[in-house]
Amino acid sequence: MGETRAKIGTWLGFLLILVWCLLPVVWIISLSFKGPTETAAGSPQFLPKEPTLQNYSDIIDNPDFKDSLINSFGIAAISTFLSVILATLAAYAIARLDFKGKRLVLSIALAIAMFPVVALVGPLFDLWRTLGLFNTWPGLIIPYMSFTLPLAIWTLSAFFREIPWEMEQAAQVDGATSWQAFRKVIVPLAAPGVFTAAILTFFFAWNEFVLALSLTSTTQARTVPAQLSFFVGPDPFNPPYGQLATASVVVTVPIIVIVLLFQRKIVAGLTSGAVKG
């Protein structure tokens, strides 16, 4: 009797959390298929009355949105690439080599993660204008690298410590050159960790808002999250909710697909810092 009740409770909880997690995403997808008359009325209906692709064609025709989408992809991809390379080198040193000051390096990394981005906006704005980096891709790529490096270093060094490095020597004993040993033995073992760090880095750069908003002035470098806040239609009292929702879907769905595809790796990467598993 008590067991049945516990089971029912578990399943109720299951449904509740499922709905709570998915509702905003499903809601915004439904919104993106609604026409302006429906969204202006607050769209009390959950599903669109007359589904339309109008918002999607509007978005595609919007040059500002297209530019910012290209910026988002380019900036996130380049920051991820550079950040992962630097983090791999540093994490290798932390996980594999023995040296004094390891604790200091890790503390600095943590301090960066702690630092409020808002406090950096003013000085960076000032400096970037002097250096001519304001409203450019490198102007966002550099701070994105700095902010993703700590997480990437932690994640990677946690992964690297699990690698049986003796295998490298074993391969060399068996006649492989050190490059071959690295290439054939270590790279395949390290790849999942590097991949996880790359996803987490890309995720940050793709979603970042404050710096994208303050360090850009046009769609030359502005990314989608910042561009969304400039998404005001002709009537400021009637924002184009449908288009806003559609733009949100366009930036959210790819990241959700990535996260679902690589869920196991991401969860492992997220928890590697906190739990020794």
Partner: protein, 338 residues
């Protein structure tokens, strides 16, 4: 993920496990190899670790040191548009700090909106995350997979789009929630606007922040739960301990380090909440009642061009976070010594 029973927090993990190459000398305190081992290794030159870390450290230091110094310097200056154009600066000593610290806005609005909001959100995020983790642990592999995916979807939703969803749901007059409650006769949609008042504003922000933050807590604590030996829980159950007592007296003490990590990381994040507040109606400065330290600093510096004053607010926020981080590091390193 293996299920080894030793659970260690954050950075400590990275440090406490040495590579197989490093033999643990008998004199090594806390399991760390002594200096002699290091010197006796002889395979890696001393400069190699630093060469490998140099690029990362340059980027990290470049970002940390320059802006940190600059913000600190700015906070002692009267720096506005004129100074930005001319490049001159005028020192005003502690004027900016005096102005901030004597401003009732700090004590009545910005600080409570930061600290109380963070406290409530951290509590709710950790509580919800723990509850979800416990539920996940009870589910079969199939249901757990589905629910984990749903949780990761909530996590993946960008803060910007997430905020738009919540704003739209609670929109005055037309919002889904307002219309539903209005049709039930619970509120009058014509006269109610939840965004103009402080408490409802932050209640909506809390829903948003907790929704965005609990997935990390849930998956981390679930990973921790997997390391709790089943026999211990079974033994406690045989001794007649109910679900709550098993959680309170077996699981909680074992997972203390994990709880410490998720609590402190959540605290750091929730003190810094910016996007979710800034993008809500009135959050970008038009409603001063809902400013927190982050948005106040940003609006003062960027919108009002009072960079010096904005920097002073940023310094206060940074000091506050520094204290929290120091506590975090102490907790981590203390546990490592155990």
């Amino acid at each position: 993920m293996t299920t080894s029973p030793d659970v260690q927090p954050g950075v400590a993990v990275t440090e406490s496990r040495q590579t197989p190459a490093a033999p643990s000398g008998p004199a090594a305190p806390g399991g760390r190899p002594s200096r002699r081992d290091r010197a006796g290794n002889g395979l890696t030159p001393g400069w190699l670790p630093w060469l490998l870390q140099a690029p990362a450290l340059v980027v990290l230091f470049g970002l940390l040191v320059y802006p940190l110094v600059r913000v600190a310097v700015l906070s002692f200056q009267d720096f506005g548009l004129r100074e930005l154009v001319t490049g001159e600066s005028s020192w005003v000593g502690l004027d900016n700090f005096t102005e901030v610290l004597t401003d009732p806005l700090l004590w009545k609005v910005a600080l409570p909106n930061t600290a109380v909001f963070a406290a409530v959100n951290v509590f709710l995020t950790v509580a919800v995350g723990t509850a979800v983790a416990l539920l996940l642990a009870k589910l079969g592999p199939w249901a757990r997979g589905i629910l984990t995916s749903a949780i990761m979807v909530a996590w993946a939703m960008p803060a910007v789009t997430g905020t738009y969803v919540w704003v739209y749901l609670f929109d005055a007059r037309d919002g889904f929630v307002m219309q539903t409650l209005g049709s039930l006769g619970l509120v009058d949609p014509e006269t109610t606007n939840w965004f103009t008042e402080r408490l409802p504003f932050f209640a909506i922000a809390t829903a948003n922040v907790v929704h965005h933050g609990f997935p990390f807590v849930a998956v981390t604590i679930l990973a921790g739960l997997m390391t709790v030996p089943k026999e211990m829980l079974e033994a406690a159950a045989l001794d007649g301990a109910g679900a709550w007592r098993r959680f309170r007296y077996v699981t909680m003490p074992l997972l203390k380090p994990v709880f410490a990590v998720v609590t402190i990381l959540s605290t750091i994040w929730d003190f810094k909440v910016f996007t979710q507040i800034y993008l809500m109606p009135g959050g970008s400065g038009t409603n001063r009642e809902v400013l927190n330290l982050g948005t106040w600093s940003y609006i003062t510096a960027i919108s009002q061009n009072r960079y010096g004053l904005g920097a002073a607010i940023a310094v206060l926020l940074t000091l506050l976070l520094l204290v929290i981080t120091a506590v975090y590091l102490r907790t981590l390193f203390k546990q490592e010594e155990l």
